[in-house]
Structure formats: C-alpha cells, structure tokens
C-alpha cells in the first residue's frame, strides 16, 4: 500500500539529509566539501534540534570520516557519510577496507570533478576512481531519486546475503543544488519499517558458538576484524566479496519493487531505466542527470518519427551487463555517454564496459560509439544533445563514418 507522502521543495543534498532523517542512522561522520556540504549542514540541524538520535561525528578529514564508518559499522551500528571529489579520493584507501570487512556503510557522493585544476562542478570522475573498490554504486537522476535511493541503499547493503557498502551518486549542483518538488514520507515510521528500526546484524558460527558479527564485547567468542591475511587466505576473502556482489542485481530489483509498494515510485528494474528502447534503432546510454535532458530532446525526435531511445544505467556496480545485452542486442547505433576523464584509454568506463558486454552477443549492435561530455561541470544543453543525435542519425543512415570516441562541448 502506498504510504502518505508530502511534497517538499528540496534539492538533492537536502533530499539525502531528509532520507537520513527518516532512516536515522546510528552514526554519521562527515567532513565538508562542496557540493556535498548541504547534506551535512541540513543533517546537523536535525541533530542540533534533537530530531534524530544519531551520533554526528564532525571529523577532521574525509579519511577519518570513512575510518569512523568502519569502526561504527563494525560495532554493529548503521553508519552513513557523504563526500565529493577530492574527499572521495582521500577516502579511497579505506573504501577497499570497508568492502573487505563486509560493512554495509552508506556513502552519498555529490559527484564533482577531481583536481587539478581544482573545480567544484559536476562530473563522474570522482566516483569512477572508486569503481574497483568493491562498493555497490548507484547513480541517481534527480533529487527525488536521491531521496528514494538513499532509503533503498540501507536495505540493499544490509541484506544478509550482501553485506557490502553502497555509494549513492548525485550529480554535483545539477542534482545536489537544484530544487524540485520531492515527495517524502509523512510518517518516518514507514521508512523505519522499510529498512528496519535498527541494523540487522548477522549472526555467524565461530568456534562452535553463535556470535554477532560485530565488536560486541558480550559475544561468547570475541570477533577479530581486519586480520592479516597472507597469500594462503587473501584470495578467498576477495572471492567471497565477488560472490556477494553477484547477488546484488536481484536484491536491487527486489528492493526497487518493494519500495514501489510503499511509494508508488520505481526506477526501471532498479539497475537500468530504459525509455523507448525496445523499438529504437538508436540508443543513448547515459548515467545521472543528463538522462533527463536527453529524454527531453529525444521526445521531439520521436515526434518526428526518429526511433531513438535512452537507456539510463542506474546501477554501475555491479555492472548490469546482462540488462545491457538484452536491451541493446541488434540495435543500429549505440552511443555511450561518459561524464568522466578517460586518460589514455580507448573510451570512458561506461563505454568500455558496455562494449565488453555487447561483444558476447551474436547480434551485436552495428555501431557503438563513445561521447565524453560535461567535464568539470561543462554544460550539456539540449542544443548539444541535438547535434549529437543528428550525428547518430547520419551514422545510422550510413551518411557518416562511425568513430570510437568524440568529445562534446569542448574547444578543440
């Protein structure tokens, strides 16, 4: 049953803060960095006003923020933090440790270009630098989805089959600072019932005893977290993480469905959000807020009879390659849009992974091209999208030679 909701004028950062308020994590540790600051500022208000019982730890760096998450989550707490750009880079070392310890930490990232030169605006390079860290990564499209996904994130990460950390990405400024009417649950209890009042801490068997997988001193056998594993065990640690990651796609879909029951909102199958892809000849594959601009333009092209579709990749890790295979087989032109630096490689990460997925199809798309766009917050307006779409139509019609990679919106 869809629960009662109220509309609030919220930007993406506030939407994350409101989701946290409704989930009420036990510990939030964070360090300010633009464009994430509004999340922690708003949440600090909730703390200062006694509206949440969360311990807010105002740490001296992002490195300590994520380190405190490790301690808090290992202690059995529900833990959340947020950052961007260089802050996420500073967390990098510890991200691998979080996933290796199987701690379901929630991390909000207001995606921002990475220095240098220093810049505060949106691109996905910060998140892409962490793509091998063993985290679940979801990219949202607007403030509403940032709210919804933040709530879902706890339920996905804390699933006893998963126990992996999760990163919820929202485009810096484009989502983080752009206000829209966001539907939030009127009664936070709805959210609490959805994610659970407290984190379900799994039980494990240790030396014949059942113990809580936490630092709980009352465990009959105390647990050692973060041991030294040589060549004789390290590989197995990693292998188990990989096994857990394999189960994520189904859980993301299930949580997306369950959330639909209480909210009336769902995002494709949770992993990918296709728009007019089935009958399309040309499909644009994209992540984040640019998907909205693309649909806006594509709608006009559809009216003119151009069979164009937009496939938004929502879950980047684990990469939904089966979904892409299913949706993109046999297409005339697939154009993959990366909002990420691609130094010294054939194409951006979204492109390369899409390409790899498509290779195994018998009926591969005829053309697959890559566009890199919007670095450092460079605008990607409808006029630019039109130029790109026109080019794709020419490629489809054989009037223009296909290519591997192009940059859009940059002075060459």
């Amino acid at each position: 049953m869809v629960a009662e909701q109220v509309e609030m004028l919220l930007n993406g950062d506030f939407a994350v803060a409101w989701a946290w308020k409704h989930v009420e994590p036990d510990v939030v540790a964070a360090f300010p960095i633009t464009p994430q600051t509004l999340i922690v500022e708003k949440f600090s208000e909730f703390v200062a006003n006694g509206e949440v019982r969360t311990q807010f730890v105002s740490v001296e760096s992002e490195h300590s923020a994520i380190s405190a998450m490790v301690g808090a989550a290992a202690a059995g707490a529900r833990a959340a933090t947020a950052t961007a750009a260089n802050g996420l880079q500073l967390m990098h070392e510890i991200l691998y440790i979080v996933s290796s310890m199987r701690l379901p930490v929630m991390l909000g990232v207001a995606n921002r270009a990475v220095s240098g030169p220093i810049n505060i605006h949106c691109d996905h390079t910060d998140a892409m630098g962490q793509r091998d860290a063993g985290w679940i990564m979801i990219f949202t499209e607007d403030a509403q989805e940032a709210y919804d996904t933040t709530i879902q994130a706890f339920k996905i990460a804390e699933n006893p089959e998963i126990l992996l950390p999760i990163m919820v990405n929202l485009d810096g400024f484009l989502i983080s600072h752009t206000a829209m009417n966001v539907k939030v649950f009127k009664d936070p209890k709805v959210v609490k019932d959805f994610v659970g009042e407290t984190r379900p801490v799994p039980k494990i068997k240790l030396m014949g005893e059942e113990v809580e997988l936490s630092l709980n001193p009352r465990n009959p056998i105390p647990v050692t977290f973060g041991p030294f594993a040589y060549y004789d065990y390290y590989f197995e640690f990693k292998r188990q993480q990989i096994e857990a990651m394999k189960k994520v796609p189904d859980v993301v879909e299930r949580v997306n469905d369950e959330y639909y029951e209480i909210s009336g909102r769902k995002y494709g199958n949770g992993r990918v959000v296709p728009w007019n892809v089935d009958d399309a000849d040309i499909v644009a594959v994209v992540m984040g807020s640019a998907a909205g601009t693309m649909r806006y333009v594509a709608r006009k092209y559809r009216e003119r009879g151009v069979k164009i579709g937009i496939l938004r990749v929502r879950m980047f890790r684990p990469f939904p390659w089966r979904d892409l295979q299913e949706l993109l087989r046999g297409k005339e032109v697939v154009a993959v849009f990366d909002r990420t630096q691609d130094q010294g490689v054939m194409g951006g990460p979204l492109f390369l992974e899409t390409l790899a997925a498509l290779y195994y199809l018998d009926d591969r798309p005829r053309n697959v091209v890559n566009y890199v766009f919007g670095l450092g917050g460079r605008d990607f307006p409808p006029e630019l999208v039109e130029k790109v779409f026109d080019e794709l139509i020419r490629i489809k019609d054989g009037k223009e030679k296909p290519f591997v990679k192009k940059y859009v919106g940059v002075r060459e």
Partner: protein
C-alpha cells in the same frame, strides 16, 4: 584531579599475574619485544576488562597477532589501516553511544582501547589522533613506542632518537645516524588540554597499571606513551629488554610523568620522581646507549665523545624542562 594519586588500587605483581590474559600466546611477536608486555599490562589494569573493544593501528602488533585464521585477541578487536586507528576508535565509541541512546545497548559503554605504534601515532596517524582527541571521544590511546618503523624493517620515524642508526638513517661516513631529536609527542598531546597524558614504562609496572586506571577513570580521552624496547631494531640481546627499559627511565630519556587535564598540572611519578628528588641517582645516558647496536657507531671503531656528550646535554635540558613544568625549579 586526574592521575595516579586518585587511583585507589595498588595490586601486587602476583595479583596482576593471576588476572586473566586477554592477549593470548601463539602470536609471532619477536622474543624480547616489549609490546606484548605493554598490551597485557594495559588490559589487566582496566577496571572492567570484559567490557572492552580494542582498536589496533597497522604495525608489528597487528600483523603478528592476527595472522588469519588465527588471532591472539580474546577481546573484540579491529584493525583498519595505518593512519586511522584514532578515527576508527571514534566510530566505535560513537556507535555504542548511539546504540545505547536507542536502547539496543544496555549497561555501561565499553572501554575503547587503541594500540598504535610510533609510526601510526607520531607520523602518519597524528592528524587522526589529534582530531579524535579534540572531539573528546572517551578512549584510551596506548602508544607503544619502539622508535622506528620496525614492522617494515627499522626505518626512521619522528620518534627515532638522535644518532640512532636505522635502515633509512644508517650510520654513514658523513652522517652518524638520525640527525634530529625525538618529537615530544606527550607535550603535543597534552597541548590539547582535554586529554589525560601519561608516560609509562613496562619495567615500572606499578606506575604503569595505575596510570591505565587513571585513564579509565577519566571521563575524557587519555593518551598513554609507553616506551617499547625492540631487540631487533635496537640491536641487542633479547634478555636485555627489561634492563634497557629500566635505563630509558633512569637516564631520563623516557621520564615518567602525567598531565592532569583538570588542574593542567604536570606531575613526575615513580622512579622519575625519586630522581627528581635525588639528582645523583640519574644514570648517565652512555649506560643506555652502549647496550644497543643502533648506537654502536658512537663507540666503535672510535669513540665519538662529542656526540655522546651532545645527547647527554640534550637529555639534561629536556629533563630540566620537565622539572620546571612539574614545579621542581
């Protein structure tokens, strides 16, 4: 007032020995390493050792005590990385506070004890430590200071004493070991003003355990600086560990003192207090240096009196400074 004078607990060595061990045998610390002694004394001294969470920075202790699938820790224990033990401990402490506020955790909050080596404390972990102290988390941070990066093979640290040879400050023909003096970590921590700070020496175990008690009884953060003799890195026979440990304090290289965050007083304790009152009992620094291979180049092939004298003069100066801080001058 916070400190050893407030502690109403004077265990005998037999009483301490009969307390259960929470750091179990089978670990791979070197013979003669003082770190396990420091760990055992710390855990035995806690008023409620059953209600403890241990956080460990990367280092010898962490590596040698938790080789998967084994562990020497009979208490909940977590190792995160090198530079973030204090931040990790902040999270643990905050978690139990939050869980208590929500009624999930009932009863007294666990004592959070951190063990960090000198590298993880003086150098790479200093920022994380300072942040955690400033925020006032209730934790006992125990620094076991073996005066170099021993885990990676005896490289120079800011805690390495002057003229000690390490693998990155070898005693060369031009440069006789580490040129710089040791960083005064205790004073740096005391400058936070909300921290109970104490130096300890496992040889002076009675002073040691009282200071851990004082730390546990203080409501704010505590920092315990333990000198941790390392036969491998200091180049001496394993059997000399406790002798060298004793000399570190008797020469005033590692004097015993505490900082009271409530009265802002420095107080000299135990053997160091005795030396403060009887200056003739202060042992010349040479007695300490000559037992250790890391200082061999000060004595062989030719004796370098000027360097030994320079160390002695600096130790005297530091000791005078401490005496002034503690109101002896």
């Amino acid at each position: 007032m916070v400190g050893v004078n407030e502690v109403k607990w004077t265990p005998t060595l037999i009483e301490l020995a009969r307390k259960p061990d929470y750091f179990l045998p089978g670990h791979r610390m070197c013979a003669g390493c003082a770190a396990p002694v420091i760990v055992k004394l710390t855990l035995k001294a806690l008023p409620d050792p059953d209600n403890v969470v241990v956080v460990n920075a990367t280092g010898c202790l962490e590596v040698a005590s938790t080789i998967y699938p084994y562990t020497s820790w009979k208490r909940p224990w977590i190792h995160n990385a090198f530079e973030n033990a204090a931040a990790t401990a902040s999270g643990v402490e905050a978690a139990f506070k939050a869980l208590k506020a929500k009624g999930v955790w009932k009863g007294d909050l666990p004592t959070v004890v951190v063990f960090g080596g000198d590298g993880g404390t003086y150098d790479i972990g200093l920022q994380s430590l300072s942040g955690a102290l400033e925020r006032g988390h209730k934790l006992i941070y125990v620094l076991y200071d073996n005066e170099a990066y021993m885990n990676t093979g005896i490289q120079r640290c800011s805690s390495t004493p002057q003229y000690a040879a390490t693998t990155t400050t070898p005693a060369g023909r031009v440069i006789p070991g580490k040129p710089e003096w040791k960083k005064p970590i205790g004073f740096i921590v005391a400058a936070h003003h909300n921290v109970y700070v104490a130096t300890v020496n496992p040889y002076f175990w009675a002073d040691f355990v009282k200071k851990i008690r004082a730390a546990a009884e203080y409501e704010g953060p505590a920092f315990i600086h333990a000198i941790s003799v390392c036969p491998r890195g200091w180049r001496h026979e394993s059997k000399l560990t406790m002798t060298i440990s004793r000399l570190a304090t008797e020469t005033c290289l590692h004097p015993l003192w505490e900082f009271d965050p409530e009265t802002r007083e420095y107080r000299i304790t135990d053997r160091s207090l005795y030396i403060a009152k009887h200056p003739d009992k202060k042992v010349p620094v040479e007695e300490y240096l000559k037992l250790q291979g890391r200082f061999r180049h000060l004595f062989k092939p030719v004796r370098r009196d000027h360097l030994i004298k320079e160390i002695q003069e600096k130790v005297d100066k530091e000791w005078e400074y401490l005496l002034r801080l503690a109101g002896f001058k």
